[in-house]
Symmetry: C2
Subunit: 238 residues, 2 copies
């Protein structure tokens, strides 16, 4: 029932010779991302990537200067996805707690998409100093936003007093770790994970009184971008 489990579905972007290079670049990145997640960057050879695309290694060098550029391409695509969802949140809803809940829900979803997983799962040590700086800058940006939401919530009273730095580490950790155990064909759907995480984690931040229905209510906002996020295929709209 789920598509493309056994069949490599090797994006036959390389079937015909004349075809826009953009879609071939894309095919390389998707294939590489999948392999990087399966076997890690270090153990994935360019021959592996080429094989899945039914071409030979040197063909890849028409679209990327070297292996690291492919890796960086995956990182960039992933951070692009994160950026998108963060921007969505920035505007709507009011209280800090609600923003944190929205952040968690949205971010958790990204962590179930291959490119999103790459950002947090792959080893930064494989990047050159230049690429590393770029990725690090991005991660800092995400972290700052989350801390800001938490601080906001503490100020407006929706979040109990705590150290925003450590609280952000706890939340981000729980979310980032998703990309380590999530598998597309697994029992848990992205939305299940996302909503449960939002509930469990914000519950820890919610101010004492009442049960923690607050955190859960904030989720309804993101249900718009739901559609069928069950598969990691189209989510890479970039």
């Amino acid at each position: 029932m789920p598509r493309g489990a056994a069949v490599p579905q090797h994006w036959k972007a390389f079937a015909s010779r004349r075809r826009d290079p953009a879609s071939k670049r894309e095919a390389v990145l998707k294939t590489a991302a999948q392999l990087f997640l399966e076997k890690s960057y270090g153990r994935t050879t360019l021959d592996d990537v080429a094989e899945r695309l039914n071409v030979t290694k040197p063909a890849l060098y028409h679209y990327f200067h070297n292996k690291e550029e492919i890796l960086l391409g995956c990182y960039r695509w992933g951070t692009g996805l994160i950026e998108e969802s963060l921007n969505e949140i920035a505007g709507h809803c009011g209280a800090g707690l609600e923003k944190v809940a929205a952040f968690i829900y949205s971010y958790a979803n990204v962590m179930t998409v291959n490119f999103g997983r790459c950002v947090m799962r792959l080893d930064e040590g494989d990047l050159s100093s230049k690429g590393l700086a770029e990725v690090r800058a991005y991660k800092r940006k995400i972290d700052r936003r989350l801390r800001l939401f938490i601080q906001e919530g503490m100020d407006d009273g929706s979040i109990a007093p705590c150290d925003p730095k450590i609280a952000a580490f706890a939340i981000a950790g729980a979310l980032n770790w998703i990309c380590m155990w999530y598998e597309p064909e697994g029992a848990l759907s992205p939305e299940e994970i996302a909503s449960q995480f939002a509930e469990t984690l914000t519950g820890g931040l919610a101010a004492k009184k009442r049960d923690r229905s607050q955190g859960a209510s904030a989720l309804k906002l993101d249900s718009s971008s739901q559609g069928d996020p069950r598969r990691g295929g189209r989510a890479e709209t970039r």
Copy 2:
């Protein structure tokens, strides 16, 4: 003021030739663990390890059959540490929530020790299928225990109803991620992290009414093994 930052403090276990092999094996593992965390297993060469110990590569083969055995040694030491702290918890205290809090506190501390960090930070893909099975079995064991504590808490009413599987993933994720950002010379001390995490995360599980002083109170139990856990030197008592 903190010892051994710049000075390699390369455990001079290899200074004299006649010296118990056990301490040399240990020195190799400690050096390797540090390097694995600095540069990853794949990028750490046996020459690197040998250099820090002031010996040459072939000398290492007197204590380990191959590179993977060194890796496995790090994993085993780390899982040993986790086992220890889990056993401590198993006995004492009563309510499920308190056990979870104790688990978090204890586990967070282990994640700041080099060997503990290795268990969750290093790439399982570098293990042989045999080694992988061993490590996986251990991780499953940890996961089962945590889920059990959560289930226990739901039964005794100390934890709000939730999916134990996902809740465990959230908690374990936050904890496991510590080994990705923690640095011994950093601003946050292990106890700070551990206690804050216990508070923040259990708050999310605590049943509605009252503020969440419950989770924090459960911590006092583990303060016994405090001493000066600020440095990762002696903590490897195994």
